[in-house]
Subunit: 436 residues, 2 copies
């Protein structure tokens, strides 16, 4: 037996792999409420595809189901002539609202907001305001807060519906309202909007123009999507690639390659510096080939500690815990951590070589000097990794790049090159006269 | 001139570095509304510290400002005897609510919910329901949805206040309500709760016990914090360490080291396999030292492509886009991407060696064979990286570990060891008779 819930789950999961006709068939097979839910879960591109596959009466019905802000997102995904066809199916008021919203960039506050919100006047009493809202009310309008506007649409304050409900019936809205509210300018970037929502634990935020007129309302569900998107973009950048525009499984293989090949090639070029460094020390390597044996181990320990440090700093920056001016404090913390972590790894590395010599006689008479070289180099590269990994995000942010681009591979490559220099310098100091 | 806004920003930012007395002074210096805001922004540990530093009357006032769910979080951070002292300052109703909430684990649905929500009866008319709510209403209770309970507190359905407002006054709540709502069982893990909120774009979700009785309401602002926390934990695990319990700047250096040293040592141990592999190929290295020169470049290209693949899959899993059973599809995508990406890097590597030979005569007569070895090895390690990086999260999830532990350093280490074997195998095939 297939329940509507199972049908819904299956449609949602198989969506990326269905072609347009199959999608429409799956969509139509759902009961009305589930179909609404599925449409709400889709991104704007898929919503647009689905609507364009439908015939006119069905399309009109579903267009009317969508809120103006979602409609604007859908229409921005549709080529010009189709866009006009779809706009013509809307009633005049919605059409005007949608056209106004389409003027905003998709990732601005204006592009996130809905133009529908509950407004009241300051002179009304609590009782009048409630009766006014009931007379005016339509479905799907957020009622948690009511916005108090003057005759020029300027935002004077907000009043929670709970406040209005618990007030004496004759109290004035002007006395109940809170004039001191967090608002977003129309052109604020969505990432900043998201940061304001988390910072002040908001569920809704009004959008105002430069004259303080209220243009619309952003609700937290739109912002959750933004925060998730930003977290995904950051994670992908941190993995050493450009952020994808669409979910992984929906991104074509060629697109996927395009987003990956740039950084991969750039990092390969940078890694060629390691070949140069290794060639530079070829004499030392020829005399003591055993040095080559520990190269991967040493450079990757630097990369690993650098990856830890950069991930800590990038995430703390994204959460607003660490700012640009905090760099000296972070440097101090990472330097101390690096010294201790590097010391521990050095001891482990030292022990490993001594043990191997004891059991397998692998390294000859100068094994203590070799163990010392590996241990000191481990200490050096771990400190290097912690410092480079923690400071690179600051440098990127200072240069107005995204700190999340201080990716694990980027930091590792940086530390690989400098780590080799540390290693061979330590070796030439400790081993000259014995192995070298 | 210092505005309250600037004072607030400064207090918020300097908070981690202030001691308890300084915190109290900073808190008291703020105007009431800013102080409320600051308290809302703090985590439970800091709220508890601050409250315990205050004298009794001040403490009582601030305890009463907090909602029951926040109070429960605060009291869970406080030692037993202090906890009773604080509970005694509450009015009886709140005290009972808080005690009930404290019985839940902090990261269960029950630990996230507030016991206060708006309830109505199915038999009421729209008009009666609104009048009932107004008569009952108190501040700080979410009114977006009203919950329809029977006499046993069983949840029958929900009705949006917008629906109630736009209904005819004599319509029955039973006819207006939606019986089909997403609820969380009391003991659902907060990560799952967060996933439900994003999936269905919810702003509130009722919590029910095993008999279907409504126990409380989770609001989206609590869930945003959960989602952010989870994203931070995932990022830290992905950076190759254990997740921190507190924000980076608030974590002591010793704690920081404890969270980092485990993975770092483990990875160092694993990297010792590279020393073993290198030692195994010492004969080849002795005959053709030039092979050592390209070791860092080749293994790190594998690590970089692996880091890209694992970040894509881990994030897609966290967003619910990729499930366990999707592994064959992901494998196919990564295998194809790996072949093309590896091919491109191979061509770049080949060109680099040929160019260097042309300009610097760096590699002798057998430079074409060497270039071929490096190019083929690059192709091999990139494919290896893409496959290992994308499949490791599936294996971890299958074994009930967190896929986010397939960190960039973990994948890189895995690929380092196997990449060396690929490199020396290709070399022994292509170079025997010339360099070897």
């Amino acid at each position: 037996m297939t329940t509507p819930e199972m049908q819904f789950e299956r449609a949602l999961h198989e969506w990326p792999r269905l072609d347009t006709e199959e999608r429409l068939a799956a969509f139509r097979s759902l009961p009305l409420e589930r179909a609404e839910e599925l449409l709400d879960c889709m991104n704007a591109v898929d919503q647009a595809d689905l609507l364009l596959t439908m015939r006119k009466p069905e399309r009109r019905a579903w267009l009317r189901y969508l809120d103006p802000d979602d409609l604007a997102d859908v229409l921005q995904e549709v080529p010009g002539e189709d866009c006009e066809v779809l706009l013509d199916l809307l009633d005049e008021r919605t059409r005007n609202e949608v056209r106004a919203l389409m003027a905003y960039a998709e990732d601005d506050a204006g592009g996130l907001m809905s133009p529908r919100f509950a407004r009241v006047r300051a002179q009304m009493t609590a009782d009048e305001a409630i009766r006014y809202l009931r007379a005016q009310s339509q479905r799907r309008i957020p009622l948690e807060f009511l916005y108090v506007l003057d005759s020029d649409q300027k935002l004077l304050g907000e009043v929670g519906l709970d406040r209005l409900f618990s007030a004496r019936p004759d109290e004035k809205v002007a006395d109940l309202m809170d004039p001191d509210i967090v608002t977003a300018p129309e052109d604020m970037d969505q990432e900043e909007v998201g940061a304001l929502f988390s910072r002040y634990d908001l569920t809704v935020m009004p959008v105002v123009d430069s004259q303080g007129r209220m243009k619309g309302l952003i609700t937290v569900d739109d912002v959750m999507d933004v925060l998730q998107e930003e977290a995904t973009e950051d994670a992908q950048k941190y993995g050493g690639m450009e952020a994808l525009d669409e979910p992984y499984l929906r991104t074509g293989i060629l697109d996927l390659i395009k987003k990956r090949v740039g950084w991969l090639t750039l990092l390969l070029m940078a890694q060629m510096l390691t070949a140069w460094a290794m060639a530079h020390y070829e004499d030392e390597l020829a005399r003591a080939l055993v040095l080559a044996v520990f190269v991967p181990l040493i450079i990757s320990s630097g990369g690993n500690s650098g990856s830890q440090a950069s991930t800590l700093v990038i995430r703390a920056m994204a959460m607003g815990e660490v700012r640009l001016r905090d760099w000296p404090w972070v440097l101090y913390r990472e330097l101390s951590s690096g010294l201790i972590l590097g010391g521990i790894l050095g001891v482990v590395g030292f022990g490993r070589i001594v043990l191997w010599e004891y059991f397998f006689h692998a390294y000859g008479t100068h094994y203590m000097a070799l163990a010392g070289t590996v241990a000191l180099s481990l200490l050096g590269v771990v400190v290097l990794g912690c410092v480079a990994g923690s400071m690179l995000p600051f440098i990127l942010r200072f240069l107005k790049f995204d700190p999340a681009s201080a990716s694990a591979p980027f930091v590792a490559t940086l530390v690989d090159v400098s780590g080799l220099i540390v290693y061979f310098t330590v070796a030439s100091i400790l081993l000259t006269g014995s192995l070298l």
